[in-house]
Each structure stands twice: as C-alpha cells, then as structure tokens.
Amino acid sequence: MLWVDKYRPKTLDKVLVHKEVAENLKKLVTEQDCPHLLFYGPSGSGKKTLIMALLRQMFGPSSDKVKVENKTWKVEAGTRTLDIELTTLLSTHHVEMNPADAGFQDRYVVQEIIKEMAKNRPLDAKGKKGFKVLVLNEVDRLSREAQHSLRRTMEKYSSSCRLILCCNSSSKVSEAVRSRCLNVRISAPTEDEMVRVLEFIGKKEGLQLPPGFAARIAEKSNRSLRRAILLFETCRVQQYPFTNNQAIPPMDWEEYVSEIASDIMKEQSPKRLFQVRGKLYELLTNCIPPEIILKRLLYELLKKLDSELKHEVSYWAAYYEHRMRLGQKAIFHLEAFVAKFMSIYKGFLISTFG
C-alpha cells in the first residue's frame, strides 16, 4: 500500500494540516445542519482527504463501505438516447462521481443522473440523517450549461440532498453555484507543514531521514503534499538508506516536458517545430491533460528565458490556454503556442545577437 493512502488521515481529528478547517467542519456537522459545500484549492492540498473525513464524521464508519459502479446511463436527450458511461463510488449515504468525465455530455449527467440521485431519499430506515450527500469532483471542468443546470438541482432538492463540490479553481465555477455553497478554501500546505508530514511518515516507517532531505522533497513537490509523499516513497524505492544529496527523480512527464522546452530553446526552425509536435502528441496520448502540459511548458521555458521576454511569453501562454479550452483539438493550440514562442524568441535572438 502506498504511503499516500496508508497515512491518509481517516478522521477529522487526525488531520495534520488544515487543522482549523477540520475543526470548523466538525462543528458544522455536529450542528446537524450541513449546507452545500465547495472545496477548492490546488491539487495535493487535502481537499479529498478532508471530504472523506467529513463524510466519516457525518455517517460514521459505514461511509467507508463503498462500492464502485461503472455503468452506462441511458439519457433521453430530445430525440436521441445518449449512453453515458460514468464511474460512481457509492455508499449508503453518499455518492461520489466525476461528472466532467462525460465530456461535453456533462450537461445530461447533471440534468438527469444527478437529479435522479438527488431526488431519491436515502433508504436508511432508522435514518437519523435525513439527507444524502453527493460528492462531485472537478466541478471546474464542467461546462457552463452543466453548471447552470446544477444550480437548480441544488435548490430544488436541498431538503434531501447535500452537494459537496470539489475543484481546483473556484474561478471556473459559476458565481451562481458558488453563492449557493459554503466555500471552503484549502490552501496548499506550506513547506514546513509538508516537512512535518514527511517526517511523521518517516518516523512511522522507521526511516532515517538525512537532515534537509524532507525539505528538498517538499521544495520539489511544488507544495503538493500528495506529490511530496509520492516522491518520498519513490526515493525510498529507488535507494535506501537515503543519502544527503540523493537525486529526487522527477515525474516522468515533467521530465519529458522539460526536454521539449530545451528543444525549443535550442533551435527555432520548422523542423524543430515538427519534432516538438511529435513530442507533444506523445504527451497527449499518454493522457497528460493539455492544460497541464502548457502550464508546465511555460514554467520550464520561463526558467530559461530572458526576463525581457517573460511577460510576453506568459501572455501568449495564457492566450493559447484560453483558446485551447474553447477548442477541441488541443494539439493545434499547443503547437500554435510553440510556433508563436519560436517566432518571438527567434526574433529576439536575432535582434539581440544579430
């Protein structure tokens, strides 16, 4: 079992970071009146952990008894019938799903499936809790239409159902939805906190941590606790006992993106653009979300870039990221960004160095 999962706090009491949030959530539950909740914050900050702990707090251990359903819903949409495949996790008290996985059909997921689930009262006969909980992940990926239909559902079935939404960026959740929820911001843990967690794990696992090693991992992990722990374990797998200057292996795809970045920096030519396209395709087919690629690519480029150009390049990255979300074929936009960068950078090189 991976450490990330092994040392995941199961209850609100055991939470190591975001203790205040956990306290507040606990109070919320004991008061019996739970509003809709929106958890937002960067990945690896502990949203999901808090949500699971919260559910456990609400419903007791039975909320752990989850079954996985991966089924196809038949949704009547006008004249045609759509088949939507969706994976849900459900226990007696809650249902968790990721409606954005349905792609551009997410609207129907919200309109039909979620509504249906929200409508049904839990069949718990003794039922202290008069409602069930719907956990929706990645609501920021939901299309506008889906979010609009969501807000109606939130109001209409609020007596029987509570929604817990979870997303990275609250800015991509529509105002209307946000205002119907209690927003809980989960910030990324500070490096100190992460070091503490890592040391805690190290102690539990009985590992010898060289001084500063945890800090290095924390730094590398980009303030994502999950990644820090994963990295920690990767290091453990790779080499133990730890040495002081042990290299911390990067994520496979990050490594690849940084290769692309250095390719771009080295040469700006149609030929190189063509090669970069091949590499971008490689990333995309390996299921790396294009937004992440673009973000990482920009990050890598900025590291190597002359400060004069940083602003402009960032501008274009944002420009193309926006367009990528409007469009469908991510590679076109990624390539457009690369071409743009090459053109800018080449112009810069020539004007500077002749």
Partner: protein, 1020 residues
C-alpha cells in the same frame, strides 16, 4: 390544344432561321417571302385567338408606319398574354415576363437604327417589318420555350449561363443578330455586323478580364512574375482559325499577357500550345531570352522566335489580310444557328428541316407548321436518345484508348470456357492454380471511360449473352433458405444463373448462348446489399459462367477481399487527342462545326470522362452549331467537371507553388472538398512548406513568424469547428475553412520540403486522427485501472491525479523490484503490491504503456524474460482469488457468462475472508448488473439452489453494511442468484451461500419484476 399549337409554332419557327443559314443561296426576294411566310405561319401558330388581331396589326402597319411601330410591341405583348404557360410553370412565366420587357426595350433601339435596316431591306417598310418579324419571332421562341421542352431548355440554359446582369444584353444580342443575319445574306453591311460581332465577343473577354483581376487581386505572392505591362495592350481581333496548324511554345514571362491568357488566345485562333519545343514547333513565344532550356532547344532546331507583339500582330494581320466578308458571314451564321439549334433538338426534326431547306423557303415555312405535329410524335421516338447512347461504340475497336485492356479482356473471356469449364467438369478445377487464371475479372477506372461498354461489347463480340446487374438491383446476400435459387430476389437469380449448368457452355445440351454476368458498380454495394461482396466472391468460386465486375475505385475498402479473386484490369483515361478525335467524329455526324483544338480543350476539362464530354457537347449543340474554343472554355470554366478532389489533391493545390493564383472561390471549393479532412491535412503538413511569400529569408525568421500566424489561424479554425459541431452554428463553416485551410495555405504555400530523413516528399495523412484514437484508447485503459484502484478501496484518487502523480511511483513500485531484487523475492513483492491495489495484469501493461515516452527506455527493458514469465505465472496463480478484487472485471466476466466465478472464488479463499467481504461489497452492484442480462437461466439456477442455501442460513456474516446495501437495491435478488450459482460450483461454501440465501427470498418474490427493475440500472 393550345399546347399543341405552341409546339408547332416552335417547329415552324425553327424552320425560319434555318433558311437564314443559307443566305448566299437564298435570293433576297425569296428571303422576303420566307419572312412573310414565316411571319404568317408564326402568327397562325402563336395564337389562333389573336390571329385576326395580329393580322390587323400588320395591315395597319402597312398603312401607317408609326402606329405600327407602337402596335408591334403591343401585339407581342398581347401574344404573350395569350401565350402564358399553363399554371404550375411559374418560373417560365416570370421568364416570359422578363423577356417581354426586354423586348420592349429592344424595339426602340432597332427603330433608332432604321437607316441600316432600310438599306438592307428591299423597300416597302421592311425595316419595320423586320423588326416586327424579329419580335414575333422571338415571341415564338419564348412561347415555345414554355411548351415544347427542347426549345425551352436551350433557351433557358442560355440565359441561365449568362450572368443575370448580362441577360438583357444577351437577348438584345440575339434579336439583332438574327436580324443582321437576315440582312447579311443580301448585303454584307459591316456596320450592323460589327455590332453583333462585338456583342458576341464581349462576354468572353469580359470573363477573361475578371479572371485576370482575380489572379492579380488576391494574395498573389511569388511564382512567376506578373507581366510587366499587364493588361496594357489591346488584344486584337483576328480572323478565326488564323493560327490553325501552327504550334507554339511559350517561355518565360510575356510582356503583357499572363501565360494562361496567352495560351487561351492562341488556342482561340486554332493554334496549338505545347509544353516543350520539338521539331513540330513553329514558334517559340518569348519576350526575353532567358537562355532557358526551351530557347536553347529552339535555337538548336531553328525554331522561329516570336515576341508577344509579334504574336498579336500576327493575329491582327490575319484579320486584315483576309477579307472581312467571310468572317462577317460566318459570325452571324454562328449566332443564328443557336436559335435554330435551340428549336431543333431532335435529329428527326432536323433532318426534316434539312430536307426542307433544299426546297423553296416559302414552302418550308408553311410545311413546317403543317407537318410539325406529325413530326413531333415521330421525333419523340428517336429524339431522346442521348448522344452517349447513340454513339456508344459498336465494336471494340471503337473504344477509345485502353485497347490493351480490351484485348486482355477479350482473351480472358475467350479462354474462359476452356480454362474453367472443361477442367472443372473433369477434375474439379485443378487448373485454377494456374497463375493468372482467375475466374472473374475486375475492371476499374474513373467514370465515363467505357468500362461497361467494353464489357458489353467484348462479350457481345464473343457471342456471350450478357446479364447485367447494377446498383439499381438488390444485390444482397442470397437468402440461404431459398437455396439453389428459385426465389425472386436478384441475388438468388444470380446464384441461379451462375450455378445453372444449362446456361454454361454445354452447347450440345442447351440452345442457350453462352452467358456472361456483368456485375456493374460493385463498389456501390452498400448497406442495402448486405453481404453482397462476400456473396459475390462465393459466387465466383462456384460460378460456371464468367463474371465481369466493374468498379470505379479498385482500392476501395469494400473490394479488398474481392480483389484477390479477380483478374485486375484498370482502365486509364484516354488522352485528350484520342478523345478529341472521337468527339470530332461525333460532332461531324451531328453536323456540328467544331475544331479540334476546342475539342481537346473539352476533353481536358472533363478530365477524361468521355460520357461527360459527349453530354456537354450535346448540350452545347442545342444552342449553337459552331462551337469554338472560347465557347467551351467559357462554359466549362466555372463548371469544369465536379470531379472528386481527394483531400490530398486539394491540399497540394492549396499549398502548391502557384496557389497564389487561385481565386477565392477555387480555394473554398478545394477546402470544402472535404471539410473534415482537408483541415487535418493542412495542419499536418503546413510546417513542411517553404513559403514563397517569405522571399529571401536567410535566418528563417519570416518563415517562423508565418508559421506562427498559420498555426494560430488553424487553432482559430478548431475553435470555430467546436462552435459548428457543438452548437450547430453551421453558418460558420465558411469562416472555419477559411481560417483552417485557406489562410494557412495562402501564408505558406510554396515548395514542399522534407523535415525528416527518408521522408517522402508528399503530404502526410493527418496525424491527429490516429493520435486521437490512441489517446482515447489510453484514457480508456487508464479509466479501467482507475476503477480497479478505486475498487481496492485504498485510495479515492481521481483519474488525472492517477496519471499525473501516482503513475511514476506505481511503475517504479512494479518494475523496480524486478530489476533489483532476486527473482522470487521480486515477484512476490510485485504481485503483493498489485494485489493490494487490485492492479491486474492488463493494468500493469497499461502502466508501462502510458508511462512510456518515445526515446526513453522502458522500465522493463533489460529485465530477464524468465523473470517476466515468473511474474506472469505468479500472478496467474493468484488469479482466482484476485478476480474478486478487481471489481469491475465483473463486466468482463459477465461477457463470458461466468459471473458466478466472482463469488465462487471468494468462497475458495477462506484465508482472506475478511478482506473479501469488503470487496464483495464493492462487487455487488456490478454483479447484479451483469445478471440483469442473463436472468433467464439464472432464475432457474436460483430456484434449484434455494433449498440448498436455506440450510446454510445460520452462518451469519459480519457484513452488515453489505446487507444494508442489499436491502437498498431494487434488484438485489439477482446478485443472490450469483451467490447460489457460485455455491453450487464451489460445493457450497457456507458463509457466502448463506449470505446469498438471505437475500434470495426477495429475489424469488421479485423474480417477475426483476427485468424492469434492473433495466434501469443496466450496466454496459
């Protein structure tokens, strides 16, 4: 009744211009009488109601000129009123009205030039009269248009082709061309003719001007330089065919003419333009000696050089040197003929007219009207035989080109019987192994080059009886039940035909001639013809008669299997010379005057499609009898054959070196030829082009910024595409193809270069499709793994988290021990890890696949095969116990119909009981789903086993949560059956079967309603 009269009017009228066609012969007197006769004839025809009225008008005219002038239009109007087409032909009516107005307009013009007319006339107010004649005449044409179809089509077609704006002009032209036509016959008056002449040439030159503007106007980068004095010189009028017999080669940039224009100019006057200098070349046209290959060769051969001015002079001189007379005669004749052709669409009526024209004209006029009714019925029999049928080759030698193919087919067919029948009757077709001996033949080639004709002719020649089955017949798989084919379906009758010995060669026994089956358009076998191709193949195998299959695209996916059973013969497009020769033959037979250059042009335009060429020719023959180069060029310029442009060709053209010369509409046509594929091809290949617009670009900066612009434009196209597809904003499709194809192409068109070593310099197929489907597949695999991980209940991670954060560690956990630790230890460790996360072997592969990047070593590289094998084995051993953990595997098991396994295995692993229960809980839902589909027999199982299960009730299990789950499920009964099934198989392991039992009660109760209950929760 009325209609009848109208059509007779048409015929009568048709006769009239014919007379004008032989102006030299006809004396002026005669001509007059013709007119008169005609006039009266036409009056008579046009309306019997107005006959007297009109007659009055005419009388009045003769008495007082002015009133006549006024009345003439009126009369014509009245006629129109009368002539109104039957209801339901509104369009025609409108047209009528239009023309009506045109007429009113034209009359004053004619009147305003009375001097000319008077001169040409032979006294007695003929000027007016001729005007009058013209009008009534035109009226008739119009009248006929709405009734007698052929005439109407000819006319309508004409006005349809000319732009709306020029329509009026057309009508005017025509009316006054008729007129000079009549006059010229008597006195060649240059003035009047000049007008007509110019009118006729106005359109083409106008068109050319527009074309030139198009070239120059929009994004004309690079390529051959524009002529320095473009459009500054006046293009002279030359005598027709003044360059006949001369061959030109054009080299370099000319002074004022675009090369295309220069070619057109030469061809218009009958000259031939070739690409390279040879002995036959008469002139090399060039303005600057660029020492190119052409000029060197020309010098070698001593070919005369000719500057552009020289060429123009040559044309100009020809005009002067020859007397104006013949031309003048010719032109009006050209123009007259169209109208005559218009109304003489059928050979029969034409013959009739022809024969009549030898007689007196006066007779003609009347007789035309008299006999026309009779003729009409006669005409219809032969009339609508299209030329394509009429001039279908009658003997194989008539077939244009492809003679070798014809011969091959001939040989094949001739030897067929010996080759297959005799042997097959004797020793089961041993000879079939003979290389090249195929029982069927597959003719392929573009449409209209004579495949069907060839097949028929060859069979005919060899005395075969042909049975043709084409796309209009149902060619689906023969119904097996009907068996040896007594059924009505064509497929069965085919079977019957091919299997029937009687139809075979056995001449002694049967009087039947030999038979050959022609399967036409086999690539058109589509959804309706289910199993058609497979059946055809089967037929070929057993066939006792030769089968000729015909298709357009041999490489079609549908025909892949068929190709193996057939002798492949592909038809090539005939050369334009070959086609022109044949076309000329047809044209002569039809009495059309066409020169060979024009026909070559036609042949080129239709892209080798003989059938289309003939259709065009026939169509044009309706409106004109002398077809010149310009006519063809003009007609086909816009509507050159709507050939299927493959996306590759389209992209080639868009990005080609000369793409800057394309007009905007051409670009749209190209990019719209396949609005899905072309943008993908553009996106794939735009990087490869070295833009000619960048010019000298040492450091590649310009090209890079052009690339960036193009890439952005392509991305724009993608955004629009989303709008189109997702929100049905189809009005954006033009904008989308503009930004996704045309803008990138116009920015980057130029020379293509390769970017990779060893790459062929052709456009690649769009990579996006393939990559996208790989991506889809990988996402699916990832999702599978995700579900497994979720089912292990160790983690609640999301899919992207799994990919981004977990995957590196997972692959490390799975592969690192194998590389580092000793074999057994490693295997154990890995398998344990996989078990704890419910990672299946497939997931293992998925992890490796997804985390692999090109150019990076796979983590499994260098691992001993033995270790891998051991790993697999170790995993396999645990498989039984593992299945339960990989919860969603149930869906797979369901497919096997072995869903019981799930529970069974659970039972068989007592040691892991506790963990199992939890996992079973995770399983329940899927299991239930799976059963929904097979509940039929499952139900029986259930009943059988229920008693068995009851005994085991006591052994309770601890899983309350599970029970709660069960209770809450509508269709819980189903999963109980599973347990029972499992218990049966596994000799009733207590715990689980008891569990099954408990919920089996509701199951039994619910037995009936289960179907519906579970249907709502159906799993995939």
């Amino acid at each position: 009744m009325k209609q009848h009269e109208k059509s007779s009017a048409g015929n009568g009228n048709a006769a009239k211009p014919k007379t004008a066609e032989k102006p030299a012969v006809a004396a002026s007197r005669l001509d007059d009488s013709v007119k008169e006769g005609q006039e009266s004839a036409s009056r008579r025809k046009t309306s019997k109601y107005f006959a007297s009225d009109k007659q009055n008008a005419k009388d009045a005219k003769e008495i007082e000129e002015f009133s006549a002038k006024r009345k003439a239009p009126m009369a014509s109007k009245e006629i129109h009123g009368d002539v109104k087409p039957p209801p339901g032909k509104k369009v025609h009516k409108n047209e009528d009205d239009d023309n009506d107005e045109d007429f009113v307009d034209t009359t004053p013009r004619k009147v305003s030039t009375p001097s000319k007319k008077l001169k040409s006339g032979s006294g007695r107010g003929i000027a007016r009269k001729s005007a009058d004649v013209d009008e009534s005449d035109e009226d008739d044409v119009i009248g006929t248009k709405s009734h007698s179809k052929p005439a109407g089509r000819g006319r309508g077609g004409k006005s349809g082709i000319t732009a709306p704006g020029s329509r009026k002009g057309m009508v005017v032209d025509e009316s006054d061309e008729d007129e000079p036509g009549d006059k010229e016959s008597k006195s060649a008056k240059p003035g009047g003719r000049g007008r007509g002449g110019r009118g006729s040439s106005a359109t083409p030159s106008g068109g050319r001007g527009r074309g030139g503007g198009g070239y120059g106007g929009f994004m004309n980068f690079g390529e051959r330089k524009d002529p320095p004095h473009k459009g500054e010189k006046e293009i002279p009028e030359g005598a027709p065919d003044c360059l006949t017999g001369l061959t030109f080669v054009i080299s370099g940039t000319l002074d004022s003419l675009e090369r295309e224009d220069a070619e057109a100019l030469i061809k218009r006057y009958g000259g031939r333009v070739t690409g390279s200098v040879s002995k036959k070349t008469n002139y090399l046209v060039c303005d600057e000696d660029i020492e190119g290959r052409k000029s060197t060769k020309a010098k070698e051969l001593g070919t005369a050089f000719l500057t552009e001015d020289g060429l123009l002079d040559m044309i100009r001189k020809s005009n002067k040197s020859k007397t104006t007379e013949p031309q003048e005669l010719k032109k009006p004749v050209d123009k007259v003929l169209p109208s005559s052709k218009k109304s003489t669409p059928t050979p029969a009526s034409k013959n009739h007219v022809g024969s009549l024209s030898t007689k007196g004209a006066a007779v003609k006029g009347s007789s035309a009207s008299v006999t026309s009714a009779k003729l009409k019925s006669q005409a219809t029999e032969e009339a609508w035989l299209p030329w394509t049928e009429k001039y279908r080759p009658k003997v194989p030698n008539d077939i244009i080109g492809n003679q070798s193919v014809v011969k091959q087919l001939h040989d094949w067919l001739r030897s067929w019987n010996e080759q297959f029948l005799k042997t097959s009757s004797k020793n089961g077709g041993k000879k079939q192994n003979d290389s090249g001996a195929k029982k069927a033949v597959l003719l392929s080639g573009t449409p209209g080059i004579g495949k069907t004709t060839t097949a028929k002719l060859v069979s005919q020649m060899l005395g075969f009886r042909t049975i043709e089955v084409n796309a209009s017949d149902n060619r689906g798989k023969a119904d097996a039940k009907i068996g040896k084919g007594i059924g009505g379906s064509t497929a069965n009758s085919i079977k019957e035909v091919i299997s029937n010995e009687g139809l075979g060669l056995n001449m002694e026994r049967s009087q039947h001639p030999k038979t050959v089956l022609i399967m036409d358009e086999v690539d058109g076998m589509s959804a309706g013809d289910r199993g058609g191709v497979a059946d055809l193949i089967a037929s070929i195998k057993i066939s006792s008669i030769p089968i000729i299959c015909i298709c357009n695209d041999r490489y079609s996916q549908k025909l892949k299997s068929l190709v193996n059973y057939c002798l492949l013969l592909s038809f090539r497009k005939p050369t334009k010379q070959q086609m022109a020769k044949r076309l000329l033959h047809v044209a002569n037979a039809e009495g059309l005057q066409v020169n060979e250059i024009a026909l070559e042009e036609l042949a080129e335009r239709v892209n080798g499609d003989m059938r289309m060429a003939l259709n065009h020719l026939q169509y044009m023959s309706l409106s004109m009898s002398v077809i010149k180069y310009d006519d063809i060029r003009q007609r086909l310029q816009s509507s050159s054959k709507d050939e299927d442009i493959s996306p590759f060709v389209a992209v080639d053209k868009l990005f080609g070196f000369n793409a800057g010369k394309l007009r905007m509409d051409e670009r749209f046509d190209l990019s719209m030829s396949d609005p899905d594929l072309v943008p993908l091809l553009v996106q794939e290949n735009y990087i490869n082009y070295r833009p000619s617009s960048a010019g000298k670009d040492d450091n590649g900066l310009k090209r890079m910024s052009l690339l960036a612009r193009a890439a952005e434009s392509i991305a724009n196209g993608d955004i629009m595409n989303v709008q189109i597809r997702r929100y049905q904003q189809w009005q954006l499709s033009q904008a989308s193809s503009l930004s996704s194809c045309i803008i990138p192409a116009s920015l980057l068109h130029g020379q293509r270069e390769t970017l990779e070593q060893g790459e062929r310099n052709f456009n690649r197929f769009g990579g996006w499709l393939g990559k996208n489907s790989t991506m889809g597949k990988n996402y699916r695999l990832l999702e599978d793994m995700h579900v497994h991980l979720l089912a292990s209940r160790e983690s609640y991670l999301g899919r992207s988290t799994l990919r981004l954060d977990y995957l590196t560690l997972l692959s490390k956990q799975l592969t690192h021990p194998v590389r580092v630790l000793p074999k057994d230890e490693a295997v154990e460790k890995v398998v344990n890890f996989m078990d704890s996360y419910s990672i299946s072997q497939e997931d293992f592969d998925t992890i490796l696949e997804i985390s692999k990047f090109k150019g990076h070593p796979s983590p499994m590289d260098g691992v001993q095969p033995a270790v891998k094998a051991a790993l697999t084995k170790a995993y396999k051993i645990g498989t039984d116990s593992r299945k339960i953990r990989t919860a969603d595997m149930v869906t797979v098991q369901k497919r096997d119909g072995s869903s019981s396994h799930v529970i069974k295995t659970a039972d068989m692993v007592p040691g892991t009981k506790k963990a199992l229960k939890k996992r079973v809980a995770a399983m329940l839902e899927p299991v239930e789903e799976s059963l929904a589909e097979e509940n039929g027999d499952a139900l029986e199982e259930n009943e059988k086993n229920s008693s068995d299960a009851e005994d085991l009730e006591d052994s309770d299990n601890t899983d309350k949560g599970l029970q709660a789950d069960l209770q809450s499920l509508k269709s819980k009964g189903i999963e109980v059956q599973l347990n029972l099934k499992g218990s049966e198989n596994s000799s009733a392991k207590k715990g689980s079967s008891a569990r099954g039992k408990r919920s089996s009660e509701p199951a039994e109760k619910k037995g009936g309603g289960r179907g519906s209950g579970s249907a709502s929760k159906r799993k995939r």
